[in-house]
């Protein structure tokens, strides 16, 4: 048990020039789980291509492997076949270049909100003053300045997720991976979080991959949506969402929004029928 062979590093060697235009490039991903003699195909031949500064959602029913796919992008899980390249490097393990926000609350409960946000910066041994500046800036963005010195147990679920987002973004990752981060929140809080997330994207332009089973959420947030079907998990469609860049909650009542939502709904419904 030494520091010499860290599992978390940015990645391996830079790859050839042809992938340079994509931020995330996953090609022909298979994921098979084997337990004893039985093997289950969780993901089959999934390919995704995500550009820099894009906001991409992956929707699908539970059990379609969308979370597994995200965990593989993070390097927390590994494909059985196929390759994943993030920022021109093959993913070989988790690292600070790929920040992740989980559905469960993962703030460090022994640290104040501010120290949670600084966690990654401290690991990088960034000067204290700079850490403070970045923490303050993100506290501002998530509108939790007043809670800088509070412990996570004093926060509501929505606040905890806001801090988790700030903690990831403060680390300035190449991509932000989000695994149903608003799944456990009540509808009202959820809508506000979607609005905030879109605002953050409009001002900071992080590259985001966002997993959800909520089609409404996906259409509101994303510029591009990958639709997945279950057993085995396959990407059945790539949908570009041509809605205005600046999005407010009223957008959800517009005909165009409803049309896109319905088309994805139909897609998932017929995929489900085929399977049944």
């Amino acid at each position: 048990m030494t520091d010499k062979k860290p599992e978390s590093h940015a990645a391996g060697s830079p790859l050839e020039a042809h992938v340079a235009s994509s931020k995330i490039l996953a090609e022909h991903i298979d994921k098979v789980y084997t337990s004893g003699k039985k093997s289950t195909k969780a993901i089959e031949d999934a390919s995704i291509d995500i550009q820099d500064n894009d906001f991409v959602c992956v929707v699908g029913p539970s059990g379609c492997g969308k979370s597994t796919l995200l965990r593989m992008l993070a390097g927390l899980d590994f494909p059985t076949a196929g390759s994943i390249i993030v920022n021109d490097r093959k993913v070989t393990g988790p690292g600070p270049d790929r920040g992740m926000v989980f559905q469960t609350y993962t703030l460090f409960p022994w640290m104040t909100v501010e120290d949670n946000i600084k966690f990654g910066l401290k690991l990088k041994k960034m000067p204290k003053k700079e850490q403070q500046e970045i923490a303050s800036r993100y506290l501002d963005i998530i509108k939790l300045k007043k809670f800088a010195k509070a412990y996570p147990k004093e926060l509501s679920g929505g606040m905890k997720q806001r801090v988790a987002i700030a903690r990831s973004l403060a680390n300035q990752p190449e991509v932000l991976l989000m695994d149903e981060p608003f799944g456990a929140l009540d509808p009202h809080t959820k809508a506000n979080m979607q609005l905030l997330m879109r605002e953050i994207w409009e001002t900071e332009h992080p590259t985001v991959v966002f997993i959800t089973h909520d089609i409404d959420e996906a259409v509101f947030l994303a510029n591009k949506i990958y639709v997945m079907s279950a057993r085995p998990g396959r990407i059945i469609k790539e949908v570009n969402v041509y809605l205005p860049h600046k999005r407010r909650l009223e957008l959800k009542d517009t005909p165009e929004f409803i049309r896109i939502r319905k088309s994805i709904n139909d897609l998932l419904y017929s995929a489900n029928q085929e399977e049944a």
């Binding site: 048990m1 030494t2 520091d3 062979k5 860290p6 599992e7 978390s8 965990r71 993070a74 927390l76 393990g93 988790p94 690292g95 600070p96 790929r98 920040g99 992740m100 926000v101 989980f102 469960t104 993962t106 460090f108 409960p109 022994w110 640290m111 966690f119 990654g120 690991l123 990088k124 412990y151 996570p152 147990k153 988790a164 903690r167 990831s168 680390n171 990752p173 991976l177």
Partner: protein, 265 residues
């Protein structure tokens, strides 16, 4: 419609005020003490079987005055402290390893499970052969009683830290080593302290076993000596003092936990 009955304090899990809690707790002690006093005062029980509360208290005062109490206490506290500290220093790191790596768990946990079912008193003769009846023997017995339990329970504490918490720390840039030192250990610390608190409680039991059979000093030995001379009140006072010391250590641990982890839920 039938009128809802008010069950007062006996509604399931109903909260009561701190004051009423304390009063209820104290009254239990008072009732037991009163029954004890009355039994003795009525003369229906022989003093040899059940000494009066007054004679037990007098015995404690006498022993405190002639200093023998402090000497016995000193021995006992020294032994339990050493046994506990050694079990903790060795057991906690092994437990964390077993709880973090399946391979280490396979090496460490099954053997600990096996040994912990061997009754500690059965080891006393062996320990006497190996270590004589010096301080080492008593410390060894406390150690044998605590160590294997500590390893297994700390391993459980380590396993109880959520996967997502560790995963998120990886995505923030920790290595395997810093994930353990900066995330796993702080996250499990409150549970770890609870484990140790429980462990020191058992430690008192093992210490007494050791002092009853393999000692010529300490609180356990004072009980055995009292039995030889049929000084029942000294048996009572010995048991009572061990109980009180146990209670004090437990309260100190509880207080320390509260002070150390203000952030815990």
């Amino acid at each position: 419609m039938k009128k809802e009955k008010d069950r007062g304090d006996f509604r399931l899990r109903k909260e009561i005020s701190q004051k009423r809690y304390v009063i209820s707790a104290i009254s239990t002690f008072v009732v037991i003490f009163a029954v004890w006093t009355m039994l003795c005062a009525s003369g229906s029980v022989r003093e040899l079987f059940l000494p009066s509360p007054a004679s037990v208290v007098m015995d404690i005062i006498d022993r405190a005055a002639d200093g023998s109490l402090w000497v016995d206490m000193g021995y006992s506290i020294f032994r339990i402290t050493m046994g506990f500290v050694i079990s903790t220093l060795l057991g906690v790191p092994l437990g964390i390893l077993a709880g973090s790596f399946r391979k280490m768990e396979a090496v460490i946990a099954p053997i600990c499970e096996f040994i912990r079912y061997m009754p500690v008193p059965a080891f006393v003769p062996l320990v006497m052969v190996w270590c004589g009846i010096g301080e080492g023997a008593k410390i060894t017995i406390v150690f044998l009683g605590c160590f294997f339990q500590v390893v297994l329970m700390i391993a459980d504490d380590a396993r109880s830290v959520s996967d997502d918490l560790l995963s998120s720390s990886y995505t923030l840039g920790t290595t395997r080593w810093t994930t353990i030192t900066k995330v796993l250990i702080p996250a499990m610390a409150p549970k770890m302290m609870l484990t140790l608190r429980m462990m020191i409680g058992w430690g008192w039991t093992y210490l007494t076993v050791a002092e009853l059979v393999a000692s010529s000093s300490g609180l356990g030995y004072s009980i055995l000596r009292a039995q030889r001379f049929l000084q029942t009140e000294s048996i009572f006072s010995g048991i009572l003092i061990i109980g009180i010391l146990g209670l004090i250590t437990d309260r100190l641990f509880a207080l320390a936990i509260k002070k150390m982890f203000p952030w815990a839920e």
